[in-house]
């Protein structure tokens, strides 16, 4: 009886997952970005005593390698950003900008361009927490898809941007979430640098 009940529950759970996946696939493509979502969380990180600049390219979707994909592959993203905390902390407000270009046609909208404005800046709260080389920031921005759609007020969060060493290729790494799109990995081009809190740039 118990075995039958457990089997029934297991089958029910599997069916529910399949239905959920089917519904998700039918309702929205992978990496669907919802405009006007809830504000990005500011909590989980502390006041940072540094600022970050960076730009370059990321082909990976993990932290296991950094090789540039083969010349026929569209599966990569490029980026540029500057971000810093405001002069008084707390609160962990921040300023700056981020540009992100996703080229993978299998991602939302056949690939997209994103321009974000930074509203918070903290130390990291993910698996890099406690690593003084990493910062975390986020805010809102605009998505323009390759298939011609535009979404405003899309929340984004750079969960970590880490300045591990010079040069940045093969060392520095970044993890970003834009809506429910995400990519993370080690840089295949470019650099991320952590700087002292001096000057306006």
């Amino acid at each position: 009886m118990n075995k039958a009940r457990h089997l029934s529950l297991a089958l029910g759970a599997i069916a529910a997952i399949l239905v959920a996946v089917a519904c998700q696939d039918a309702a929205s493509p992978p990496g669907h970005i919802t405009a006007g979502g809830s504000p990005p969380p500011k909590g989980g990180g502390g006041c940072a005593n540094f600022r970050l600049t960076g730009g370059g390219r990321i082909d990976a979707r993990d932290h296991n390698g950094f090789a540039k994909n083969t010349p026929e592959s569209h599966d990569f993203a490029t980026f540029g950003f500057q971000a810093r905390p405001t002069s008084s902390c707390p609160p962990t407000d921040g300023s700056g900008n981020l540009e992100w270009q996703e080229h993978n046609p299998a991602d939302f909208g056949g690939g997209f361009s994103f321009h974000g404005t930074v509203t918070f800046f903290t130390t990291t709260a993910d698996e890099t927490a406690g690593d003084s080389r990493c910062g975390r920031f986020g805010g809102f921005g605009r998505v323009k898809t390759r298939d011609g759609r535009t979404f405003d007020n899309v929340p984004f969060e750079v969960r970590h941007a880490c300045d591990v060493d010079e040069p940045g290729v093969g060392n520095d790494h970044i993890a970003i979430t834009i809506g429910v799109y995400s990519r993370h990995g080690i840089l295949s081009g470019g650099n991320i640098q952590q700087h002292r809190l001096t000057g306006n740039n």
């Binding site: 600022r51 600049t53 370059g56 002292r196």
Partner: protein
């Protein structure tokens, strides 16, 4: 003992002056653009991102860019960022262009990506174009399936020639480092010599201390 103090102060002040001078001399440059064309003296260029010498961020973007008979391109994005800092200074520029067709279709590519990075820390500096590349590049109708080596020259019959993945290092390698990468640089010419040029995907950066 007291007589030695002015000398020590002079050394200290002199050292601080040198340090201040060193800090003041630090600078970064960054520039990126998607497309530039000079056809018989008539120039056209997509939006340019130019980094202030003290650092910051600049962008230059447009959804489409066309020069009749010379170039068609979409989704041109140019970004440059950088910062000046005594301990660590850097500039990085990125240019991307999609759906490129130029010189009457002699060269096409799905994506052209240029990345130029320059940096120095306390003990080392450098500059490179790592991350630059083509996606589905065709030259004279032939698919290029391998990464293109820096400064590869190809002839374009009837028009001139192109330098692919053109890299121009700058700086002295001691106190300054820099790199310009032009992913496609077409030189148009006739029997008398050059008549114009087209550049697709250009990124530059440099640092000095």
């Amino acid at each position: 003992m007291a007589k030695k103090i002015p000398g020590a102060w002079a050394i200290l002040v002199g050292g601080l002056t040198l340090l201040a001078g060193s800090a003041a001399a630090q600078s970064v440059t960054g520039k990126a653009f998607g497309t530039y064309a000079n056809l018989a003296g008539v120039q056209s260029q997509s939006p340019v991102a130019s980094l202030p010498s003290t650092g910051g961020m600049a962008t230059g973007q447009t959804d489409a860019f066309s020069v009749a008979g010379a170039v068609d391109a979409q989704w041109l994005n140019a970004v440059t960022t950088g910062a000046v800092d005594n301990k660590k200074t850097g500039a990085q520029s990125t240019s991307e262009v999609e759906n490129v067709s130029m010189a009457g279709g002699a060269i096409t590519a799905d994506i052209v990506t240029a990345v130029a990075t320059s940096y120095f820390g306390q003990f080392t500096g450098g500059s490179d174009a790592t991350g630059s590349g083509f996606t589905n590049l065709l030259v004279n109708g032939v698919a290029v399936t391998e990464d293109v080596a820096p400064n590869t020259r190809v002839d374009i019959p009837g028009l001139g020639y192109a330098i692919l993945n053109e890299r121009i290092p700058t700086g002295n390698g001691v106190t300054s480092w820099g790199m310009t990468v032009n992913m496609i640089h077409v030189v148009l010419q006739n029997q008398l010599g050059p008549t114009g040029e087209i550049i697709i995907g250009s990124a530059s950066s440099s640092v000095s201390r």
